[in-house]
Symmetry: C2
Subunit: 341 residues, 2 copies
């Protein structure tokens, strides 16, 4: 049963998706796709942490507005972020009187929240669920590395934490169908360099992807896109190599949210994007609309999270990681008129 692929026969679909980003994300190749941005990265707040919460509030409000829904129609929130004690979510969504399930999945949080939302709507526990997550470059630097004012130099493999929040609403019926899913197992392969999280997370993605193809009915060729979030350039290339060594060549259809969000040449972001917000805003702003239109017919979305803390690294531990997989399809039969955009 541990390798059982979860089917959502009762129905699960992303009916609304919204994204809020900061300056560098807006200046990147997907800039035009995002719903809201603030080039000060502050969103009117006095601290970076409050700015992150405000992004979640804005993202969720925008997701509601896109389908003309009120908060009363949302039965459950699945939310989490990178900040200690996940305060980006608990404060950011405090305005909403909605049952709240707090998650911690690091950069896999969007995938984890969508998976739980799909399970809940398909099983009939809730009619409408929402998955919300965020990250903020400045709050993450202060917490994980060094406050910005220190001007510390970054290593070439270091990923850049995306300033962004994504919110998704999930119901039974809709054009962007969550067809099935495979939850990840926490794996750790000895990487203890927090400036190379892509390398730490790649083995988790390998584990989940191999299990998905081994125990499921699908082949890589069926997918328009196999997209991880967020391994970056270093981790993404490790993933492809490791899968190739297992006889699985996904290179022609592979991409990574951390590689898509910034311009590798034009923006000096080293290893690419990361953070809970990265895969969330790329899925919400870029992939969901393409799935909605049918430009993408079927994708695998694999959220990858590095589950260490600064304290665990200081104590000499390696980095555990997890990867949650979702198969998401354009549902041509859907007569749902309310679109993602």
């Amino acid at each position: 049963m541990q390798n059982k692929i979860l089917k959502f026969d009762g129905g699960a679909a992303i009916v609304s998706a919204a994204s809020v980003v900061g300056k560098y994300e807006y200046e990147g190749p997907l800039g035009d796709c995002f719903d809201l941005h603030d080039s000060t990265d502050k969103f009117g707040m006095k601290t970076w942490e409050k700015a992150e919460s405000e992004m979640q509030r804005l993202a969720f409000n925008t997701a509601l507005a896109k389908v003309s829904a009120s908060e009363r129609e949302v039965d459950a929130l699945f939310a989490g972020d990178l900040l200690n004690q996940c305060v980006g979510s608990s404060y950011g969504l405090l305005d909403f009187d909605i049952p709240y399930f707090g998650l911690y999945g690091a950069c896999s949080t969007a995938a984890e929240g969508l998976m739980l939302s799909a399970m809940m709507t398909s099983a009939g526990y809730f009619s409408t669920c929402a998955a919300v997550t965020s990250s903020h470059y400045c709050s993450a630097e202060r917490q994980y590395r060094t406050p910005l004012e220190y001007g510390a130099q970054r290593s070439p493999t270091a990923q850049w934490t995306v300033t962004g929040a994504g919110a998704f609403m999930v119901r039974r019926e809709g054009t962007i169908r969550i067809a099935d899913a495979l939850p990840g197992i926490v794996v750790e392969k000895g990487i203890n360099d927090a400036s190379n999280m892509g390398a730490a997370m790649a083995p988790a993605a390998v584990d989940t992807i191999l299990r998905y193809f081994r125990y499921g009915d699908h082949r890589p060729e069926e997918f328009d896109l196999i997209v991880t979030g967020d391994l970056g350039w270093e981790g993404g290339s490790i993933l492809c190599d490791l899968l190739l060594a297992e006889g699985l060549d996904i290179r022609s259809r592979y991409n990574d949210c951390g590689m898509m969000i910034y311009d590798r040449e034009g923006q000096d972001m080293h290893g690419g994007g990361s953070g809970c917000g990265c895969s969330a805003v790329v899925l919400a702003s870029h992939l969901c609309p393409r799935l909605e239109r049918g430009d993408l017919r079927q994708i695998l979305f694999i959220g990858t999270g590095a589950m260490m803390s600064p304290a665990s690294i200081q104590q000499g531990e390696s980095i555990p990681a997890v990867a949650h997989l979702l198969r998401i399809c354009h549902n041509a039969d859907s007569n749902d008129e309310k679109g993602v955009r």
Copy 2:
């Protein structure tokens, strides 16, 4: 739908529960009930954080052993803790090749994990789920307040973080039935004193309990016990007063895991116990065996979590809180022979 009480018609039951605690918990009134303890609080580890992870590993292993199960029989883990980035869980459960859903619910984590486990087994997604959580006095002091070596004085309402880990296995059939549940809404009523978390969490418990009796079919008189975890003496008395003002008198059947775990007179624990481990080990070691035997026929178990961080308090924010409710019953009809103890 937001006040919909979740029914587990497909079946959900706690089939195994295990607890691991430290010195003061073992010396308290429930000392004899716990499965394992270490009076050094170190569990053979070099750091408090690693000791906390080790408690989770031991607790989950013990829960497996009680029903002679191997890790292969467990389809999903729902786990979280208080440490930054929830590393107590990600490292503590790393040995087990089991799909992992990371949670952050502060002291409500045991209730949140059990609720999600019950939803998953009842809906048929998984046959066996496990909910695991922990807290450690020394790792919590270092992170939230001051390292022990500072010898800082505690305020009278401050709660004592329990050193302990609890693990539960949930299947469809069993004597200790999880009958229904109501997830909590995050509320914040202006308390910003992190040394008085009971007062911050009481309004969340009030909200969930009132909604449960207002929208459900049950009355307080039906329950042998209405137990929160963990409001402590201060928060517990606030809860009873606030409910009384709403016309609901639960005092004769009320208790709190934070009040039960320590001897108020003999152990100088100020406000009582707290931490993810508190409600987990009291439920696992004391309440589950009584439910198994039928000494308790039906209880309401309300996990309460304070969702702030040291940074959010330093930035002048108040403390948001959440309370997840479970109705747990002795299932007289169960012919399951494998008991909790």
